[in-house]
Symmetry: C3
Subunit: 347 residues, 3 copies
């Protein structure tokens, strides 16, 4: 009888089920400007129509994370409104540039289910696909979340745990149509470091920090039409403190990484991501990166494009030692985010 | 001698006087994005160019309240800079869609005057009309405000109290040019409920809440070029607290009403509105709606469009009992806004 | 070995050196909207495409200060990352309108160097030039900053102090291409006061005030890609308080000056500027202006355009006495900004 959306509970999901998410959302130049107001980003491709055109992308795409946050936000009312925790991401690939005027729609397929032994909740695995107004795939990714059961007596479904790759293979990365770094302008981009200037194992302290405020993370999170109460409503948590959307930390850290990774122009894939601690207003967020891998796929010959696999770590307070884990293998106390992704860089 | 605008006082108004307000304002995609950053809106028509085109509106209009706030803001320096209170609205109709690139100008005609018995102030009634760059009417509405006299010895004008309708008749609602809900996509819109799924007298608790912050309401109010000091300047009120613009509460409540009224896509008219209590940063705003009336005007036959007359109530703190008035007929303590409007929905 | 940018120190500069700054930045309608959300601006030319067209400017330019802040922000990583103080501006001229779609790049030439007697720092003079995507000059200006030495034993360079004009001559002001005020609409613009209505020596109290919040100044400063830590990171200053970007105060004061200077539509030049005190969240900023000079250059005959040279003063707290300096010639305690500029007004 109620007209409002209670969200899905664990027993509402079944493997193979397809969820078409509301509401489609058109990206605009306003989104680009707001992203630049909320995050200290300076990557040349989304910043400059001229620079973007010089690398074969015209009109200039918006940051990949704008598309990701919008696409992800669409899934929240159907997938994670009753979630206890976001457990992970995998196999996230960016298929094509998103430009102002593109309309993003998202749908998800349930690809796995596993009830928890306590019988009160379970893990739901979905593969989500964001498409544009031409039904072309823009992004796809898998994620798994722990979701409450409505009724603890509901029978457990057959356990299906999908097999997900630990990382996207370099050869499976997608070069955005038209992209070429053969006439890449290092000075305009801000740094001279190219693919071969980075070594696997290299650590980069991005130096700068940003102290979070509530209005700023709310403006961003709302822009993506993300409806999770805990980000906006101080009455939604017992401590009366708003929780910062995990994607906000991803975007903050990515923007801070400009200082040392200015040429990591485009995100091609997200291999894995863990939000290891909650973040709140007043926290000062810093970032460091580790080079995990390098690639120059044969299929990209002649484009001047290479790929860096990077671990991007956000910390509360600066950690010049760049320590990810303590001696017991647990995440070090200040670590907020551990993100594994592929970026496209000039060779 | 002073170059600054002191605003009009009660004795500066006369019935029949026409005030052409400064400054015209062009609507942009930036306004749409900021609106979505400040309010948790997800209505499909303003969110998606594709969805809007599917219902006959292309380019996609911005939310009607963007146009209303801009049009209203223009009247402040001439009508209500010296106001003691905004007393009411009536007969507000939305004549046509506003799209990025449209330039809004507003003028007002004084349609009534009534000096208060204390001789210190009076009520000014104006009918305001917002037009676009083609001199087409976009919105018109009546409002009345209590305004200070500059000089208490100024003679009282002849009392003229205009006759204003308690509500816009359904047959007087205007269907935006081209609008058709015959191929309406419920899934993309977010909910399946159509005109006949709502019953007169039905109450809908919109569940979600947003805790107000000062920067957010200031960003929105400033965007509409509303110049009332009390919203921006902590030195403008004895308590040092910024007062939230009443229109901010309207937009917050309207956005929250998506959860249960996702198909109330467009606002066609505002019948009446009362800001029953002031709102401040730190207040958590919730909303509920009551279905007051339903209509399917004969002239709209074949368009698939119907109309719901709704009471939209914003409250400070959630009131699951949805109580509007106490036993003495006064507004219940937490009520911030009581807005009576017509929305266009699919049949 | 480090990949991050340490900025230039005093001994890294030499006279004649040209610095091409990263990263080019395309202006959008999103910037215009955000500027209007952050600053209470109502000048008719940037507000209305129709008004702008009526004075010969189409598409409508964005506020000159948007272009200035972007162009200035580009210079920070190369010129002032290790600055102790911004000492001054001079000879800043606005050459042409900036419209959405324009991409701004900036380069600077070192035009002077003077080591301080303490041997620990020195003054660097640069002339910066912002160009658009057609390599046309948009703005140029000189500024001088005090910069740390990396190594106190580095030898002092030859002292070169450039000769900079105390003010741009009226005859050197540039009329934006196409600008004409011959059919200027005072009512739409908001005030009737034209060139001849202002007298040299006249003082205008702009009445209104805005209380600063941290999120708002950060949104604006970040939008200009200004990377100075002190504006964003509470750990960057011993007192844990964010310092407001000086340009934020310029834009606030300029917007407040609408009330009394609504017809000072366009900024043609900045003659000099001093940020006389730091500003912080919680400060309530007011503004007053003094008319320093008037001009109607012969070359502008027939355009209806004149110029006002104005001193724009921002204060913390309202000072109705409009006192710039105390009896000893020092800036009065509440003064935050003393800006000397030329504005274009209708004759």
């Amino acid at each position: 009888m109620s007209k409002t959306n209670p969200g899905n509970f664990f027993e509402d999901f079944e493997v193979g089920q397809v969820l078409r998410h509301a509401t489609p959302r058109t990206v605009t130049e306003g989104d680009r400007a707001l992203y630049g107001a909320v995050y200290p980003t300076r990557f040349a491709v989304p910043s400059s129509a001229e620079f973007a055109a010089s690398v074969g992308l015209s009109p200039a795409p918006v940051e990949e994370l704008i598309a990701f946050h919008i696409a992800f936000g669409k899934t929240v009312p159907d997938v994670s409104l009753n979630a206890i925790a976001n457990l992970g991401y995998a196999e996230c690939r960016f298929h094509r540039a998103v430009v102002p005027g593109d309309t993003i729609s998202t749908q998800s397929e349930v690809i796995g289910l596993k009830q928890n032994s306590n019988g009160k909740s379970g893990v739901v695995y979905v593969r989500s696909t964001a498409t544009n107004q031409r039904d072309e795939v823009v992004i796809d990714w898998a994620r798994w979340v722990m979701v409450h059961k409505r009724d603890q007596d509901a029978p457990a479904p057959e356990t299906v745990v999908p097999s997900l790759a630990p990382a996207v293979e370099a050869d499976d990365l997608i070069l955005p149509s038209g992209l070429t770094f053969t006439a890449y302008d290092d000075v305009a981009a801000g740094e001279p470091h190219r693919l071969d200037d980075y070594a696997v194992g290299e650590m980069i302290d991005h130096v700068d920090g940003v102290t979070i405020t509530d209005p700023e993370h709310m403006l961003a999170t709302r822009l993506w039409q993300n409806t999770a109460k805990v980000h906006f409503n101080t009455e939604a948590r017992p401590d009366g403190i708003r929780l910062v959307y995990g994607g906000h930390i991803i975007s903050l850290a990515r923007a801070l990484s400009f200082n040392g990774l200015a040429n990591a122009q485009l995100i091609a894939a997200i291999n894995a991501g863990a939000h290891t601690s909650p973040a709140f207003a007043g926290d000062t967020v810093y970032a460091w990166s580790e080079v995990l891998d390098k690639a120059a796929p044969a299929a990209w010959e002649g484009t001047g494009v290479g790929a860096l696999r990077l671990r991007l770590v956000a910390t509360k307070g600066r950690d010049e030692s760049m320590t990810l884990r303590d001696s017991e293998g647990k995440y070090a106390p200040g670590v907020l985010l551990d993100l594994d992704y592929w970026a496209l860089v000039p060779r």
